[in-house]
Symmetry: C2
Subunit: 326 residues, 2 copies
């Protein structure tokens, strides 16, 4: 057991770095409510996340972090598949999640709602004419699926933003995910869709969380066949290797021809990151931003992972300057 | 995090209590090998359990307890169900298990094989003419399914014994499970079968592990419809309540008319148990044994749970004396 790598100090470090640079204008998010979230997530998951803390406290007073122990596997009973949400809080934890790195604490649901508000606020700025806007979302979102939370993620900020764009404007959207980890949630949400493309660069799931998804052979299904792209990175990938992979990703984006781009920005590809094994520098991050700017698309950048708190703010700042300067 | 309640001291306490009583004759188990296990469990699970410790040590040297973090859920990717065993050790842990209370340590596989040998040795004694034999199995087995380990269980001792009886003699067998926890593994293994009955008394899964299975409405499927019986117990159930439930269970057994009985004996229904909420006494355990003896069936008793080490040996002894005296 160790303290969670995803903590409030990350958001504070990023905010401080951007606030100190006059190139950035800080805007507070407003409140969007449940409706845009319910367009992406199972209403049962939203209800569960809204009540699990107080329900668990009633049954197990004093618990500070709520975690699942037992998971709903279809092979627990011959012929048994997921049917309806079970009764007990313990079974429901294992019904709505798939892993054990994501404790629920007292403020989790409010924070998750705030992260979605931040994503939607940044999206509105871009829809209203800004060339780019960055949402300092915390907790992150890309591991949260339609009906599953996990990987420090509860609600999928980028997916809610993309769905909001599609629903309100009808334009095609690409989510380009550059976090160290595969965004299994975002992939699942849009896996059958042809109006939202998902392109992800990430560490090969043979060695990296989430281990189960993110392989190159996963390319979408049904109408969505071909709209999912997974590009995996070897250990110790540096600026050169990352930029070469990003170049391939950008080609995929250009081929889809979206009218709006959402970036799931993880800085855990950094050489400093305590839980990853890549070697990207601040210069490399700035060049990534610049390469994406060449797509000349209205761009919403949403914060995902990145756990090297000492360099996190500067790495975000440099990435965004790259996007802005080109 | 706390030390596991399932530890070697349990077996030592039971052995000491039985060795001190001249009513019991202790016999060492012999070795049966993989074949009877492979008649019940997925060969992939057996291979995995045999290699996971050394594989994990190679990748993460110094780990003392190997645990899954991420579980294979069919809803991780739209249209994705279990297909083939994944590549990484992390994904394979979550492929072969369903929960996080069951660390794998250096001696786990050898211990699991030893527990099966113990179960098969006790079974042979009964097939050879003993009216009853008790197998001091550790680790327990009833949570292990065809392709899943968990709940301190790796290989399903009772299921392997039952399958061995069916395969070698053709007689009908009942597994009567009186552990505090539902034996989800045993239920799953025989859920579609009509030659092995599974009857379980256990704490209502609304409040107790495994939370997901063990409800009264689970009665088998296909040819097995009606051969699974789940009887749930309320909190604080005492000798009277337990014996009334056991009486119902015994009626079910008699109706199935097996020729051999296997008891999954958990003593975690004890008033002393540190992880359960029932109130059965040593007298109650003796009366349970006596009630089962009235079925007049050759009986193999296999150890499952029970975590109150101070009274565990005496409770097993009294239960077995009840079975022997009537």
């Amino acid at each position: 057991m160790h303290p969670a790598f995803e903590h409030v100090g990350r958001g504070e470090a990023i905010r401080a770095a951007l606030a100190a640079d006059p190139a950035f204008t800080l805007v507070e998010p407003d409140t969007w409510g449940i409706e845009p979230i319910a367009a992406v997530h199972d209403p049962g998951l939203i209800r569960f996340l809204g009540s699990v803390w107080s329900e668990y406290q009633q049954q197990h007073p004093g618990t500070r972090e709520v975690m699942p122990d037992v998971f709903l596997r279809p092979d627990l009973r011959t012929g048994m598949g997921p049917t309806v949400e079970p009764a007990s809080i313990e079974a429901r934890l294992g019904w709505w999640s798939y892993e054990v790195t994501t404790p629920i604490t007292e403020g989790t649901f409010d924070a998750a709602l705030g992260a979605v508000d931040t994503a939607l606020g940044a999206t509105r700025l871009v829809l209203d004419g800004e060339r780019a806007a960055y949402g300092l979302c915390r907790p992150p979102g890309h591991h949260a699926g339609t009906s599953l939370y996990g990987g420090y993620c509860f609600l999928n900020n980028a997916a809610v933003a993309a769905q909001h764009v599609v629903a309100t404007t009808g334009v095609r959207v690409t989510i380009l995910d550059v976090d160290y980890h595969h965004g299994n949630g975002t992939q699942q949400i849009f896996y059958e869709r042809d109006d939202v493309q998902y392109v992800s660069l990430h560490a090969d799931p043979v060695r990296a969380y989430p281990f189960i998804t993110g392989f190159a052979e996963e390319t979408g299904t049904g109408r969505g066949l071909g709209t999912t792209t997974n590009i995996t990175l070897p250990p110790a990938a540096d600026d050169t290797v990352l930029l070469a992979a990003l170049d391939r990703a950008v080609e995929q984006v250009a081929a889809f021809a979206p009218e709006l781009l959402i970036i799931s920005l993880g800085l855990d590809t950094s050489i400093d990151d305590p839980i990853a094994d890549l070697a990207v520098t601040a210069d490399g991050f700035e060049r990534c931003g610049a390469m994406i700017a060449e797509l000349s698309l209205p761009t919403v950048v949403l914060q995902e992972g990145g756990y090297a708190v000492a360099s996190l703010g500067e790495n975000v700042r440099r990435w965004l300057l790259g996007l802005d300067r080109s």
